[in-house]
Amino acid sequence: MDFEENAAKCLLEKWGIAVPGGRLVESPAEAEQAAREIGPCVVKAQVPAGGRGKAGGILPAATPTEARDAAERILGIEIGGHPVRRLRVETRVHAVRELYAAVMSDPESRCPVLLFSPLGGVDVEQAAMRDPSAMRRLHVDIRSGTVPGEVSGMIAGARFGSAAGAVAATLERMYQIYRATDAALLEINPLAITPEGQVIAVDGKFTLDDGAASRQPELAALAADPRRTRLEAAAAAEGLQMVELDGDIGVLANGAGLTMATMDAISHFGGQPANFLEVGGDAYTKGRTALRILLRKPGLRSVVVNFCGAFARTDILVEGVISVLKELEPEIPVYFSVHGTGEERAVELLRRELGAEPCFWMDDAVRAAVAAARGETS
């Protein structure tokens, strides 16, 4: 669950990391008013996406009028698929140094890792690629936490002068925040050193671990709204993950892997999948709800139901599917392939209740659905 910059900065501030003074605004008039109080400022689009600067979503403003103009230009543009509805207007910071600092869960070492680079700024990734030694890593033992000497060692040689202590303290504090908030990622880029030697987070990125949302309800409530279509939102409200696509062949399968594989097969045989919609894991009892949502998608020409039960009981899934098909009697054809846990009963139910014969091979169900979508009779 990603946070917008403003929410991330409020979190940092609460934990004692300095951020430029600023305000959240929603209109050019509010931006002008904020700039009048703040002085020379930066107007920043609030969307949970990277590349805001390059997309024209971050503009400097020397005067309130300029802030108003900047807000007019930024509000309403789309960045990474997110329309900009809010802006953060904040004090412009003079930096003598720009650094990069992050803490995240690292799949490779299976440890939390602190990342630090003396070369911060927008192109830190490219800088790290040119010079891998520029990105320093510290793997932390999650049972004991950070060891003070280690963090100072990490920044050694970067010549921060009197600010070195504050930089090290910021890194240690970032680790504390990561642990206390169940972050998947906390990133400050750039972390600026001002002429006065103050260390300040000019930008901030915070991602709450999805699995921890239930034990961090207050933080979860602050996360940015994910961009979702109406149907995707309806699915999410039922605890189902759906992604709408441009195609015309509906997909209902259990498990993310099998669902993606079914989409791949549709595309391989010349069709276009209409969606990702997974009823795996504990969601296998939701076959009814899932198909009901899927059938609301306009422009569907056929549907593939592909179940291969491991944990998921295919007979329970099929019961749900049958009840929806009997109730709604869709005009589009539905092709089945069903194997694995509960298979015998599932196949028997399909034959008895729908007079449908599931395809032995998944590819045959997919080919039939592709042919039907093209208007060919198979």
């Binding site: 921890a212 791949d264 595309s267 894991g281």
Partner: protein, 291 residues
């Protein structure tokens, strides 16, 4: 390690609904289940098996090699630590949605005790004709059959489908290894490739990957030097870039971690990549008969 019939299995959460259902299936199949853990039912007998308060208690009375966790995500950290500290060689962690930092703590406990974690979010392990530990239809003979092909899969349903396709094409399986859909799995594809390369019962390997992360790229590096043939399928070619597909680990990326990066890495390592899961049998059959 590849799961063998002699491996003694302890089922944590055995007395729950799913724990009961799958333990019965495992015992029927011949798995060597030695007991279960359920703090509130300690001292009782369930399915003819002793129930303990903790893995540590079980370790004294009913020594075990493998702990299989039917434990909800919020309690997985404690249960896994208990199993590791009780001396489990292998812990199969089924739960999905375990908080990420709890997963890191599970891995830390495993490192400290020399335990291997499989998962989280795995459907478990099947060694057809011998034993199984997890939530897989092991006894369905149309799906799983004893043989010489090792199967590695991030997704339980896809691993099951690929096993079905292999069986229907006359290719039985030496071991089916679900590594799970968690972004930080305890056992990687590369780890399992190493086991299967060393396993005298395995002649070839079917690798079922997905978009997201770098497991397939790492596995490709090892596969390049393997003596045994490997073929792969990578799910997610038709998935839109930047959207999460179910598993927290499965996000289509444009660059590294994306479909084309994985396919290129595998093909560069001499691993043919199937366009649909069913093609895996064909690709492996050709590699096996061709020597």
């Amino acid at each position: 390690m590849i799961l063998r019939r002699e491996h003694r299995i302890l089922v944590q959460g055995m007395t729950g609904r799913q724990g009961t259902f799958w333990t019965e299936r495992m015992v029927e199949y011949g798995a060597n289940v030695v007991g279960g853990v359920s703090p509130r039912k300690a001292g009782t007998v369930h399915l003819g098996l002793p129930v303990f308060a903790s893995a540590r208690d079980a370790g004294q009375a009913a020594p075990f090699d493998v702990a299989l966790m039917f434990v909800p995500p919020g309690r997985s950290r404690g249960a896994a630590r208990d199993a590791c500290e009780a001396g489990a060689r292998l812990v199969v962690c089924l739960a999905e949605h375990i908080p990420g930092q709890d997963v890191l703590e599970i891995h830390a406990a495993a490192r400290a005790n020399g335990t291997r974690i499989v998962g989280p979010n795995t459907a478990g392990l099947v060694t057809p004709g011998e034993t199984f530990a997890g939530i897989m239809p092991a006894s369905n003979r149309r799906v799983f059959s004893p043989g010489k092909v090792g199967v590695i899969s991030r997704s339980g349903s896809l691993g099951t489908l690929v096993s079905f396709c292999l069986t229907q094409n006359g290719l039985g399986q030496s071991a089916v290894y679900g590594i799970g859909g968690d972004p930080i799995p305890g056992t990687t594809m590369r780890d399992v490739l190493e086991m299967m390369e060393a396993d005298p019962g395995t002649d070839a390997v079917a690798l079922c990957g997905e978009i997201g992360g770098s497991l397939e790229e790492d596995a490709a590096e090892f596969a390049a030097d393997m003596a045994k043939p490997v073929a792969a399928f990578v799910a997610g070619r038709a998935s839109p870039v930047g959207r999460r597909m179910g598993h927290a680990g499965a996000i289509a990326a444009g660059g590294p971690g994306g479909y084309h990066s994985k396919r290129a890495a595998l093909e560069h390592a001499g691993v043919p990549v199937a366009n649909v899961p069913g093609q895996l049998a064909e690709l492996l059959g050709a590699r096996l008969s061709g020597g």
